[in-house]
Amino acid sequence: MQRISFIQGNMSLFLKTYCRITDGEVHINGELFCQHMDEDPFLRSVYKHIGLTYPKFFKMDELSQLGFLGAEMTLMRSELENYADDEVAVIYSNRSSSLQTDMQYYETLKEGIASPALFVYTLPNIEVGEICIRHKLYGENNFLITERFDAQQLLQQCEALFADNAAKAVLIGWTEVENGGHDGFFAFITGSGTNEVTAETLTDIYLGR
C-alpha cells in the first residue's frame, strides 16, 4: 500500500537524461549507445567505448564499475556545469547491497589472507563515493536497499531533497550485479525542465516498455 504523496500534486519532477546498462547493451535516452562486441569483459568494453582515461576504474569492484559508468554517461549529457558543486545529490539503490564483493572478500578470509582491498568495497555506497570523486560532487548522498527497482521511493527522495533545498538535481541509480549479469539504470532528475516524470513513467522506461 503506497501513500499518495502530498506534494506530488505541487511539485513536478523532470527527467533530463537516462541511461540503461543491461547485459551486453547500453542505451542512453532510449537510443542504443554501444553493444558488447569485443573480448573484454562487458564493463571494461563500455569503458573503452567511452574513451575515458581513468586508471582508478580498474581498481573498482564490479558494482562500482557499473555505477561509475552509468554516472559517466548520464552526467555528461546533463549540463552539470549549470550546477554548483554541492547542488547535485547522488542517490543509488539496489537489491543485494555489495553481496558479490562480500562473497569474494569472505573467500579470501577463508583462504587465510583477508584482502583489505576487497573489504573496502564491501559497502554499497562506495560506488557513490567513486562518482563524487570523479565528478567533484560535494552534495547529498544516500544508498537505499529495495527488493526491486523502486521508482516511487527514489523520486520521493528527490522531492524531499528539493523541498528541503538540499539539492537542485539528483542522479538516481539502480545497480545490481550478480553472476556476471548487470542491471543498471540511471537518471538525472531536476526540479525544473520540460520532460516531466512520474514513478509510473520512470518504471516503464526501466522496464523498456
Binding site: 506534494i7 562480500d102 562506495i126 557513490v128 544516500n142 536497499i145 527488493e147 520521493q156 522531492e159
Partner: protein
C-alpha cells in the same frame, strides 16, 4: 519549516537495554568494551563491545541476532507512543545498517542474507503498512536515517517515522577492520595523542520522528535541520581538509539560521583512528566549533557502524535532557592539530542546541541539529 519532534528512545548495546541504564553506566565511566579471546578465530588484542546474550530477546520468529535486536527496539519505541503509528500508512520505518545479517555469509543460500530481507521480516512481524526503507550508507547510515526521516515528514510524505539503526559484530567486519590495521589494542582513545584505532561494538537503537508532539508518552526534543556531504576525495580515507564534514555542518547551521557559537554540545564521530580524528578537528575548526564542548562515545561501546548515528544521537539527547554531558572516555592528552574543547568530566551543555556528526567510508559525512529543552 514545519516542526519535527523526536523521542520514543529504544536501545540495546553492550552497556544495557534502556537509555537510562546505559547513560548511568556512562556517567560512572563504565565501558562495554571487553577483551575477547580470539573472537571468531581472529587474532586481535582489540577489545570488543558485545551485547550480553541475556539482553537479546529470543521470542521473535527470526532466529537471527540482528533482526531480534531490531524487533526489540521496534517494540520498545512503539511502547513509548500513544499508538502504533506504523500499522497505518502515515507511518514509515527506516532501517539503517551497514551489513545486516552478515553473520549468515558462508551460507549463501540463506535467504536472509540479502539486506532487503530485514525489511520484510519487520513488515510481517509487526504488520507494518509500508515497506520499511533500508539505508546502507556506511557509518553515516544512522545519522542519514534521521535526516531522511525528517525530510520525508517535512515534505508531507509521512507523519511519523521510526528510525532503527543496527549492526552486529561479526567475523566479517572484525576481520576486515583487522586487515586494514584499523583495530586498536585494548580500548580506543578518540582525539588522544596515543590513539591507535577503533573498537567494534554492536548495538541497535530506535528514535521516532513525528510532526505531532502529542504522540509521545514521555519526553521529546526537536529536530531542527541536517545535511550530508561527500568529501569527493577518497573512498576509504577521510579528507585532509575535512571538506565534506565542514560542508555538512555549514549547510545544517545555515538551514537552521543558528551560529556555530550557539551550539551547546557536539557529539562527534571520534573513532579513535589517527586520520578520522585529525580530519574532524580540522573540520570543526573550519566550522567555528573549536570551543564547543565535544565528546566521542566510542570508548563506551565501540564503533557500532550503521547504528552509530542513531545510538549516539539518542544518548546525546539523553545527556542534554539531564544536562549532564559525559566525558569523552579514553581521552587524556590532546592528539589532534586543531583545538577542541573535549569534555573530560561530566559537564552541563552550554545551550539547548545539540549537534551530531558522523563520517564514513565512501567519503560521506552527515550532521544533524536538535533543540533540547
Amino acid at each position: 519549516m514545519s516542526e519535527v519532534y523526536i523521542g520514543a528512545k529504544s536501545i540495546l548495546c553492550p552497556l544495557g537495554d534502556t537509555p537510562s541504564k546505559v547513560y548511568e553506566a556512562m556517567l560512572h565511566g563504565e565501558t562495554g568494551l571487553k577483551p575477547v579471546d580470539n573472537p571468531f578465530g581472529i587474532h586481535t588484542m582489540s577489545h570488543v563491545g558485545l551485547i550480553p546474550d541475556h539482553l537479546i530477546v529470543q521470542e521473535h520468529m527470526d532466529s537471527l541476532k540482528l533482526t531480534n535486536m531490531l524487533a526489540a527496539c521496534y517494540e520498545r519505541s512503539v511502547s513509548k507512543l500513544r499508538f502504533d503509528a506504523f500499522q497505518d500508512e502515515a507511518g514509515l520505518v527506516i532501517i539503517c545498517t551497514t551489513k545486516g545479517n552478515i553473520d549468515k555469509i558462508g551460507q549463501p543460500e540463506d535467504p536472509r542474507l540479502p539486506l532487503g530481507r530485514l525489511g520484510r521480516f519487520l513488515k510481517q512481524s509487526f504488520d507494518l503498512a509500508n515497506d520499511p526503507m533500508i539505508i546502507s550508507n556506511a557509518c553515516i547510515s544512522g545519522a542519514l536515517g534521521i535526516i531522511t526521516a525528517a525530510r520525508l515528514i517535512r515534505a508531507g510524505e509521512y507523519d511519523h517515522v521510526l528510525v532503527l539503526g543496527g549492526d552486529i559484530v561479526s567475523e566479517f567486519t572484525l576481520s576486515g577492520f583487522a586487515s586494514l590495521h584499523a583495530l586498536t589494542d585494548g580500548v580506543c582513545k578518540p582525539y588522544d595523542k596515543n590513539r591507535a584505532g577503533i573498537n567494534l561494538g554492536e548495538a541497535a537503537a530506535g528514535l521516532v520522528l513525528s510532526n505531532d508532539e502529542t504522540i509521545f508518552k514521555g519526553s521529546h526534543s526537536e529536530y531542527i535541520s541536517g545535511a550530508s556531504a561527500n568529501d569527493a576525495n577518497h573512498i576509504s580515507g577521510p579528507s585532509r581538509t575535512g571538506e565534506g564534514l565542514h560542508r555538512s555542518i555549514e549547510r545544517t547551521l545555515k538551514a537552521a539560521e543558528v551560529e556555530a557559537t550557539e551550539i551547546g554540545y557536539l557529539s562527534a564521530h571520534g573513532t579513535g583512528t589517527s586520520f578520522n580524528d585529525e580530519m574532524e578537528s580540522i573540520a570543526f575548526g573550519r566550522s567555528g566549533l573549536s570551543e564547543t564542548p565535544v565528546n566521542s562515545l566510542k570508548g563506551y561501546f565501540g564503533h557500532t557502524l550503521g547504528a552509530a548515528g542513531v545510538i549516539e544521537t539518542l544518548l546525546g539527547l539523553e545527556g542534554m535532557k539531564r544536562k549532564q554531558l559525559v566525558a569523552s572516555l579514553g581521552f587524556e592528552e590532546m592528539g589532534v592539530s586543531q583545538p577542541m574543547n573535549i569534555i573530560q568530566e561530566t559537564t552541563a551543555p552550554r545551550s539547548e542546541y545539540f549537534l551530531k556528526t558522523a563520517s564514513g567510508f565512501g567519503g560521506c559525512n552527515a550532521s544533524a541539529l536538535f533543540k533540547v529543552i
